[in-house]
């Protein structure tokens, strides 16, 4: 069970973690700006290269393959290391008109505004609180005994695979599902800042643009390569979906990740909030490129503790965070990708049954 700290310890924990944060933020500057601009350049180049080489598939199919790989890479970088982190406001201090959380829009079906509400606010504030963090199982999967078992959970492993394949649409529809825009009864404790009409128009607007881009515009201008381009874009989207879903599941749904009840978290102090973030997240170890491709969500624990610090700094911060975890005897959940992922699958399977 979770080992509770004393009031004094919680206070000290908050101070210790704040020190790490302040230490890192005092160094934020040119290096971080250069870093994100470089990643954006790589992403833009990969996208351009991908779209062009895919059409050159008529010369040799290998070009098409290269195009698909390149476009997938572009989408993954755009969503993970760039989009996710920029939308978290990690680079707002740059005052760059295009690299900031207010204006950035990403290459994914989910409208950035909706994502900021659900993810930045709900998920990061109420991490793993059953009933408040709608990211926990996405309302589709039962991943804890605290959630009532239903018959549909029996086949939730298949639901899980489908969710992963079409993850971007799951995310895009997430807020509307939660707000019961189309089906179901309105919950009365919701205080949404946007109207249903806005939700709908944002959703359909973004969806139309994404579909237009990948399945109408680029295929049409590819002439005879139309069908291969449609297929290539589709595959690139699926690869990105699988990757993002898998990484995100590894961040919160591994075996030893804790969940919380609304009761427990009433009036929690900053120290308790930090504590909950550490218990509710799990890390992945890997090489530098692996971290970048995960958008540094491989350092989910650090990300949850310090969501506004530029993510490429998490790897260095994790050493100190680990020391602190040790000091307070808080479990620090980390492991290799395959080890962690195996426990995710186990969790999805295990809670299929009552």
């Amino acid at each position: 069970m979770i080992n509770k700290l004393s009031k004094q310890q919680y206070k000290q924990l908050a101070i210790d973690l704040d020190v790490i944060r302040d230490e890192t933020s005092s160094h934020i500057g040119k290096r971080d700006a250069n870093y994100i601009r470089r990643i954006i350049r790589i992403q833009r180049s990969a996208e351009i290269l991908g779209r062009i080489t895919m059409v050159m598939g008529f010369i040799h199919p290998l070009f098409w393959l290269l195009g698909v790989v390149s476009l997938s890479l572009s989408k993954i970088l755009d969503n993970m290391e760039i989009g996710h982190n920029v939308l978290h406001g990690q680079y707002d201090w740059m005052n760059d008109a295009n690299i900031n959380s207010r204006h950035f829009e990403w290459d994914i079906a989910c409208d950035a505004g909706s994502w900021k509400r659900i993810h930045n606010y709900e998920h990061h504030t109420y991490t793993n609180i059953i009933g408040k963090d709608r990211d926990f199982g996405y309302g589709l999967l039962r991943l804890s005994d605290d959630i009532k078992w239903r018959k549909k959970n029996l086949w939730q492993f298949i639901t899980y695979i489908n969710l992963s394949l079409f993850f971007e649409w799951g995310i895009a529809y997430h807020e509307m599902a939660a707000e019961r825009v189309f089906i179901g009864q309105k919950k009365n404790n919701r205080s949404s800042q946007v109207t249903d009409a806005e939700l709908k128009s944002n959703f359909f607007g973004k969806a139309t643009r994404q579909i237009f881009k990948d399945y109408i515009f680029f295929p049409l201008i590819s002439g005879p390569m139309m069908l291969p381009v449609i297929a290539g874009n589709f595959i690139a989207n699926i690869i990105r979906n699988l990757w993002t879903a898998t990484i995100i599941f590894c961040g919160h749904f591994t075996e030893d990740v804790h969940t919380f009840s609304e009761e427990e978290c009433k009036n929690e102090s900053r120290g308790q909030w930090y504590h909950r973030q550490m218990l509710g997240s799990s890390n992945l170890s890997g090489s530098r490129w692996f971290h970048i491709l995960t958008g540094h969500l491989s350092c989910q624990i650090e990300h949850h503790l310090f969501p506004a610090i530029p993510a490429h700094r998490y790897v260095d911060m994790s050493i100190k965070v680990m020391e602190i975890a040790k000091k307070y005897d808080i479990p620090y959940n980390t492991g290799s990708f395959f080890k962690q992922y195996a426990t995710v699958l186990k969790r999805v399977y295990r809670f299929s049954f009552p």
């Binding site: 350049r41 201090w93 740059m94 295009n98």
Partner: protein
């Protein structure tokens, strides 16, 4: 219509408000700091006007749209990875620009400021900086009327441009410049004196307010007895503008004959989060006095003024509450740093205003 389609296409194909925005980071490989929304200008030289004041002489890109005497530009430079921007009046004449593509910005080194001294020390000859299109309505549109120009301190900058341009027009003019400084030297003295010699219709009074006191009715009568019949232009510190405006109104000068332009507030010297001030919510046209007794976040102040800004976590993590701060200093309770004075985006839930702050809400 065409531009709507273009915008929609840019949004759809590259998730950007324009195609240029998508390519911006790539272009920056070849042209550092190139941005879509700014023009580029090359620094020809930095000229010292005196110990505290310097002028940037800039050769502006040929795409720049030009300016009228009295207007200002926003310049933006990168300081440790962050774009910092400041507004400065153009102090040179449009004539110079049409002839040579050069403009001058005259800048006072604010002792506590984080930009003006830094610019002076860091900028190198040949360096490229970004500037905006010229903006502002502090323009003389009728030289047939007699003018009274009242400058306070660095408020002389737009007048230098206005006067040079008026002389160049070769029109018969009647301009009196009343130029106050407090403790520091007057700028452009030699140049102004030469112009006075050359042109009948121009006269200048240099006033040192540490000796003769601030502007008052006696001054106006003494230096420019027919001030009531002139169109007055005032540029300088906020307090001076307000005082002068009252004086003129009190002497029955018509409101439309009084034009003025505020400079941004000077940097606060003693940074203390308990500094009181006026919080202006620009879009809703609400002004609130913040007291020095208790510190409240901008969000709390906005809410108690009846506004309901977008919020989420209220603890600085979700970035939902971001607003554009136009001017003033705020203290970030999370990172424990004081902001810059210029315009930037702030999370209002964790920002405590320090002194006067204008926010776009």
């Amino acid at each position: 219509m065409v531009s709507k389609v273009y915008q929609w296409l840019a949004k759809a194909l590259v998730n950007n408000k324009s195609f240029k925005g998508f390519f911006e980071p790539l272009v920056q490989v070849f042209f550092p700091f190139w941005t879509v929304d700014a023009y580029r200008a090359k620094l020809i030289k930095i000229r010292d006007e005196n110990k505290e004041v310097y002028s940037l002489v800039l050769k502006v890109s040929k795409y720049w749209k030009g300016f009228e005497a009295g207007q200002y530009v926003e310049i933006s430079v990168e300081k440790n990875g962050a774009y910092m921007s400041r507004i400065f009046s153009i102090s040179s004449a449009p004539g110079l620009y049409t002839k040579s593509g050069v403009i001058e910005l005259t800048i006072r080194k604010q002792q506590q400021g984080c930009i003006t001294p830094w610019l002076y020390n860091t900028l190198k000859k040949g360096q490229i900086i970004n500037i905006s299109a010229a903006k502002g309505h502090f323009i003389v549109n009728n030289l047939n009327r007699s003018l009274l120009l009242i400058a306070g301190g660095s408020g002389i900058t737009p007048f230098r441009s206005i006067i040079s341009e008026a002389l160049r027009s070769r029109q018969a003019i009647d301009i009196h410049l009343l130029y106050y400084t407090h403790g520091i030297d007057h700028l452009f003295v030699g140049e102004l004196q030469q112009q006075v010699e050359k042109c009948q219709g121009l006269s200048v009074s240099f006033v040192n307010s540490s000796q003769s006191g601030r502007i008052c009715l006696a001054h106006l009568q003494q230096y420019c007895s027919d001030f009531k019949n002139r169109v007055s232009y005032i540029c300088g510190p906020t307090g001076m503008i307000q005082a002068t405006k009252q004086l003129l109104l009190g002497s029955n000068v018509a409101e439309e004959d009084i034009r003025y332009e505020y400079f941004g507030p000077a940097p606060v010297v003693n940074l203390d989060i308990k500094t009181s001030g006026t919080i202006v919510f620009k879009q809703s046209c609400i002004e609130v006095e913040s007291t020095s007794k208790k510190t409240h976040s901008l969000l709390e102040i906005a809410e108690s003024a009846g506004l309901s800004p977008t919020t989420g976590c209220r603890m600085g993590i979700c970035h939902q509450c971001i607003c554009q701060k136009q001017q003033g200093i705020v203290y970030n309770t999370l990172t424990k740093v004081f902001s810059d004075t210029g315009s930037e985006e702030v999370q209002i839930c964790i920002s405590v205003p320090v002194g006067n702050v204008t926010i776009n809400l």
